[in-house]
Symmetry: C2
Subunit: 322 residues, 2 copies
């Protein structure tokens, strides 16, 4: 086994993760909508990870990583660089365990995001908004504290944690034909592949991606990872590239990646809020967007739809802007 193979999590890891994180995460509900069934021509089952702790599925992976640490490592704490949901969730999980967490964020990140991380008890260390500054500052943090680096998605503990979502979904909804989830770095999709390829290998797995950040789509077609420099999409959780662990799952188990435009994402997001009465972030809405534009592909099927998160600025909604 090479190093990659050694790091690939197994379904046993998902089961351990599930037992480990159960006290710290919600068993999120599955909602249905006759309106969306009619609109899509399929039977849709929305797995509401926007209702998860910290408002996003990443509470699963982060909790698995944090609660799996030895006591010795836990004392030294955890660290990551993320101005988004992973930083928030790592702070949440570290706060639950009562251990130190440091999140390196660009000084230009919104104050509300820094406050949310601090609200869970983590420390925010600011860097300049560049990759070199981020890496330098992050290196210092880890060197000084000995904190364990928890990558947002290219970490077997994180992927195994995300895999618990599809395990719940498969128990909540019988006879699924397909599952649709957004793809960015590939953490949620990888966890979904890991679980379903073991317990329900006939279920097709579709990933939804913004046209404006279609690196995973092009990677799948090319047969190797393509990483874009600076994709621009409203689905800000989906801008990051695949890495070797997530590429393993995507390349082996994803049926197809389907693309949607920025307009389609915003329209789908608005429709979800309006008809389902839930707050979802743009990334989540890519799922409904691709379902509505690929009606014939899903017609008559039972489709699980993973709504990944709900962390948005309620004062800056895309349909309020000129």
């Amino acid at each position: 086994m090479n190093e990659l193979e050694m790091n690939i999590p197994t379904y046993e890891d998902v089961l351990s993760a599930h037992e480990r994180i159960q006290p710290h995460v919600h068993l999120t509900p599955v909602l249905t909508s006759s309106y969306f069934n009619q609109l899509s021509g399929a039977k849709l089952f929305f797995k509401c990870e926007n209702l998860q702790k910290a408002g996003v599925f990443k509470a699963r992976g982060a909790s698995n990583a944090v609660f799996g640490l030895s006591n010795e490592q836990a004392r030294k704490g955890v660290a990551t660089h993320s101005s988004g949901n992973h930083g928030l969730c790592l702070s949440y999980a570290a706060g639950r365990r009562g251990i130190p967490a440091t999140v390196v964020m660009p000084r230009t990140a919104p104050e509300a995001k820094k406050d949310a991380v601090r609200g869970y008890g983590a420390e925010v260390v600011e860097c300049e908004p560049s990759t070199s500054s981020r890496e330098a500052v992050f290196g210092e943090v880890v060197a000084k504290s000995g904190a364990d680096f928890i990558h947002p998605y290219n970490d077997p503990r994180v992927i195994a944690g995300q895999g618990t979502c599809a395990r719940e979904l498969a128990a909540q909804v019988q006879g699924l034909d397909a599952v649709v989830a957004p793809i960015g770095g590939g953490g949620m999709i990888s966890g979904t592949c890991l679980t379903l390829s073991t317990i329900a290998p006939d279920v097709k797995i579709y990933a939804a991606e913004p046209k404006n950040a279609d690196d995973a789509y092009r990677s799948l077609k090319a047969g190797h990872i393509i990483a874009d420099d600076a994709p621009d999409t409203i689905a800000d959780g989906l801008k990051v590239p695949l890495k070797n662990l997530t590429w393993h799952f995507v390349s082996n188990f994803v049926t197809d990646i389907l693309l949607c435009s920025e307009r389609e994402i915003i329209d789908a997001m608005y429709l979800i809020w309006q008809r389902m009465k839930i707050v979802v972030e743009p990334s989540s809405a890519t799922t409904l967007a691709i379902l509505l534009k690929n009606r014939e592909l899903f017609a008559g099927q039972r489709v699980g739809v993973i709504l990944t998160g709900g962390n948005v600025d309620l004062k800056k909604l895309p349909w309020m802007q000129a």
Copy 2:
């Protein structure tokens, strides 16, 4: 028995209603939030009727009324006057049964609300925005069609339908000490009283009401119905007065009515969206508002919180306005 007594629904009616409407309504989830537990000092269980069909608990009462009609009456259809949630829910239920529904609405009502009613297949008949015009137009509609008038809340079929919500909640959450629900005309509170006074008589029932529309509060203190002319509150579902059937339940079974300001309603609404990732209308938020300002009253208790609905104009949110 006088006429009022003959009309008071019983818990048997709730059981029949539940069986009758089950295929047509959602068993809505109960959500929890450690953030709100901490903030309130209580253990809160949010019954999410905003995730109900048509976005509001009134789908229960309307479905019970519509599906309880004889075939003969059903052919003549149903009618109501309501520019709000009841009109929408009656249209929904009539559409499910495939019978005619007419909703009399002021011509000044928002086009979006008229479209939503039409979207479920009902007919909108416009009147002038005055009580006299509404009554005249409504009288004509009923005289011509023979449609059954379904009152938004002062109807035993409607109250029995709303009572199914508390029945679900009591099955979903063990050992509740109290339940909090908003009060307007008193339909939801009456259904809650009907159910809990039978199956869990020790559970205290608190009603939440806007200070700006405190007619139910003043009625309870005075010992008789006081109806205001034109209360002005953002919680537009709560502007209507109690009537004899709902007064029966409120006066006999409600522990207390607690008031909140417009600012408190908007703040609580924003907090619910932000922390729970669900869309609730202002009326729903009165519950959290009174919980947060009466901390000592609920400290340490297990409290059911009925979030009644989520029908808001997403393009006109109160925290976006100057």
